[in-house]
């Protein structure tokens, strides 16, 4: 196991906490249903091994019993939870099914088609004349 890999215990705690952050709602799967705690957190760490420590310590800060809801988690005011939440969010959107549901996976190639109506669009700007102060 590398430093960026989570233990089984960490993964199961991550699944529970991640569902508080991203629950199943509005036609979207919850974080654990989207396998945030398995494949997708590993994929986050494959690009950003530096985030592993933040996730680990964010989890460690959340003492048992786990909060029952996100407001409860927030009420504990744990400063390192934000880094954990950001990593969980990144992992969630890496899941291709989630990506499909939100309509964004990655940037795609869009060949340029120039705007042909700029003359008309800027005509009122031009009509107002120069707006700079000339060199005195």
């Amino acid at each position: 196991m590398t430093a960026a890999e989570l233990t089984a215990a960490e993964r199961s705690k991550l699944a529970a906490v991640a569902d508080l952050l991203i629950p199943r709602a509005s036609g979207m799967p919850s974080a654990s249903e989207a396998l945030v705690h398995e494949e997708f957190i590993d994929r986050v760490f494959s690009v950003r091994p530096d985030l592993a420590d933040g996730v680990r310590s964010g989890l460690a800060d959340i003492a048992d019993p786990l909060p029952a809801s996100f407001p409860e988690l927030q009420a504990r005011a744990l400063p390192r939870v934000r880094a954990l939440a950001e990593a969980v969010t990144a992992a969630y959107f890496l899941n291709p099914q989630v990506a499909q549901l939100v309509g964004y996976r990655k940037r795609s190639v869009i060949p340029i088609r120039f705007d042909e109506d700029l003359d008309a669009l800027v005509s009122s700007v031009n009509a107002r004349g120069p707006i700079y102060r000339p060199t005195p």
Binding site: A25, A85, A99, R107, V122, V125, I131
Partner: protein
């Protein structure tokens, strides 16, 4: 200090391979000068770019992050920002910070060069817009700029090498709103090729310009300049940290001493020394170069080396719309800009103004970030609805504010830290003035108005964040008087005539524009002058 034998003496040695240094190298080599460039970083590695895969935003948080303290690359020197309102954003390597820049391309306006005469504050530049205009034109060809000519905010932008990138539905929406308000806007000018152009490929509108443009559509000198310069015989020494500029008894610069990647310290002798290390690196190198003749640092008789730091405080206002805009499907930098509130209007209670550009808000991960959305956390029950509301339905006005030069804002050596060559890091002191705060508050109000006119159902004024120091200016100021400036209008140090400074540290005032076109045009003008002078000396001797 162990000093290994230098390579052959050169006509010119340049420190820094960013836009300022690359432009200088090109102008010298065109006239047959032998040129060596010393650059502390390496070439950007586009094979490590994630612009085409799903890891884009993750990589932007670390390896492709513009903040040296986050990125922590081998070429980043220590910068103490504990006394600064703003974090400096730079990239140290071949291409300089332009490897990370958005490519937003703005000339200054005539009034930017005449702040004292027109507004009674700060200083006039010792050169005018008209002096620089022909050099802007040439630089725009070298950097493959695309844009739409004729903006009435400038006297004479008659052409661009390429047609403007599409303004997108988001740019169009803001343009139409400004037309209704009677406010200025213009299609964006960007250092982005909209067709295959010299070394640049045509833009494919990935909107990932700051995180490693693999199509090489964005004009950074590692694309536009350095491959050709190497062919033309310029010697680029990478991974080499310049640690001192040496001078002789007559006070002329004789050599740059540097530590190479092998840890060996060498001396590169040359007839002319050009410094292009940016608003932080240039004062650092001058301050490191002390001698009996220059006990307070090289060319620092005025005491102004490192002082008058200006960093363009930045504000963002976001609008959320019902319409689907997908603003990342285009160039990131500026599909459109506005200069409606750029010039001073006395009744507003502050001097100078700001430039605005429309900017996308990003992909899903960015919809959940503290910036620009504010501190309240979005996780829990409302998470999905919030993401759905914002993603593809939001855009922002980025507001670049002019800040005025103040001597207490400064860059100094920090002897408590060391870079990899054992040199001290720097400490920045930078506080935003009341004039700038008032200016920003006014512009934020107007930008919210603009977004509401466009139909925003919600506008959010982003919290002021520290990570906005893209533009680092003023720390080796130019002027006519040696007692109150470091260099003259040709970038020549008043006290060291064969030392030329060509980066943004020379700016007497900051303007409210993205600075690279002016840095590059100034470098070209300065070096053209140096070349002409040396030619006439050669003829007369």
């Amino acid at each position: 200090m162990e000093l290994s034998s230098s390579h052959d003496r050169a006509d010119v040695v340049i420190v820094g391979a960013g836009p300022a240094g690359a432009v200088a190298a090109r102008r010298f080599v065109e006239d047959g000068f032998s040129v060596v460039c010393i650059e502390q970083g390496d070439w950007p590695d586009y094979s490590r770019s994630h612009v085409a895969d799903e890891y884009l935003e993750l990589s932007a948080g670390k390896e492709w992050n513009p903040q040296p303290t986050v990125r922590r690359s081998f070429s980043d020197y220590p910068i103490d920002t504990s006394r600064s309102d703003v974090e400096p954003l730079i990239w140290n390597g071949v291409g300089g910070s332009a490897v990370m820049y958005a490519g937003i391309w703005m000339r200054l306006m005539p009034s930017d060069f005449r702040v004292r005469s027109l507004d009674g504050v700060a200083d006039d530049w010792p050169l005018s817009y008209e002096d620089l205009a022909p050099f802007y034109e040439r630089i725009e060809r070298d950097f493959g700029v695309s844009g739409y000519p004729g903006d009435p905010a400038f006297p004479d932008i008659d052409s661009y090498p390429m047609k403007a990138a599409p303004i997108g539905p988001h740019g169009r929406m803001m343009a139409e709103a400004h037309n209704r308000l009677g406010w200025h806007w213009w299609p964006g000018s960007n250092a982005i090729a909209t067709e295959d152009y010299r070394n640049q490929g045509a833009c494919v509108q990935r909107g990932a310009c700051m995180w490693g443009c693999i199509n090489k559509a964005k004009a950074s000198p590692d694309v536009t300049h350095w491959p050709d310069l190497l062919t033309q015989g310029v010697r680029l020494i990478t991974r080499a940290v310049a640690q001192e500029i040496e001078t002789d008894a007559a006070g002329r610069a004789t050599a740059v001493v540097y530590t190479g990647d092998d840890g060996v310290t060498r001396r590169q002798e040359a007839d002319v020394v050009v410094v292009a290390a940016n608003g932080l690196g240039t004062p650092r190198l001058l301050q490191l170069s002390t001698s009996t003749r220059f006990p307070n640092g090289l060319a620092n008789g005025s005491g102004l080396v490192g002082k008058r730091l200006m960093m363009h405080p930045f504000a963002t206002v976001v609008g959320v719309f019902d319409d689907k805009l997908d603003p990342w499907k285009g160039v990131w930098g500026q599909p459109v800009y506005s200069l409606e509130f750029y010039e001073t209007v006395k009744e507003r209670g502050f001097v100078r103004g700001a430039k605005w550009n429309v900017t996308p808000t990003g992909g899903p991960q960015a919809m959940t970030a503290a910036f620009p959305w504010g501190g309240s956390e979005i996780w829990g029950e409302g998470f999905h609805d919030t993401v759905r509301d914002r993603l593809g339905h939001s855009l922002a006005w980025g507001i670049v504010a002019e800040d005025l030069p103040e001597e207490h804002n400064r860059v100094e050596l920090d002897h408590s830290t060391r870079d990899r060559a054992g040199l001290p890091g720097v400490r920045m002191t930078y506080r935003t003035s009341q004039n700038t705060k008032d200016l920003l508050a006014f512009n934020v109000e107007r930008a919210s108005e603009s977004l509401r006119e466009a139909g925003a159902k919600e506008t959010i004024v982003a919290p002021m964040i520290r990570e906005t120091g893209w533009h680092i200016l003023g720390t080796a100021t130019m002027g006519e008087d040696a007692a109150s400036s470091v260099v003259d209008q040709w970038g020549r140090a008043h006290e060291v005539p064969n030392l030329i400074i060509v980066d943004g540290s020379t700016w007497p005032t900051s303007s409210g524009m993205n600075p690279t076109p002016t840095i590059a045009a100034f470098s070209l003008r300065a070096i053209e002058h140096a070349v002409t002078e040396r030619r006439s000396q050669a003829v007369s001797s």
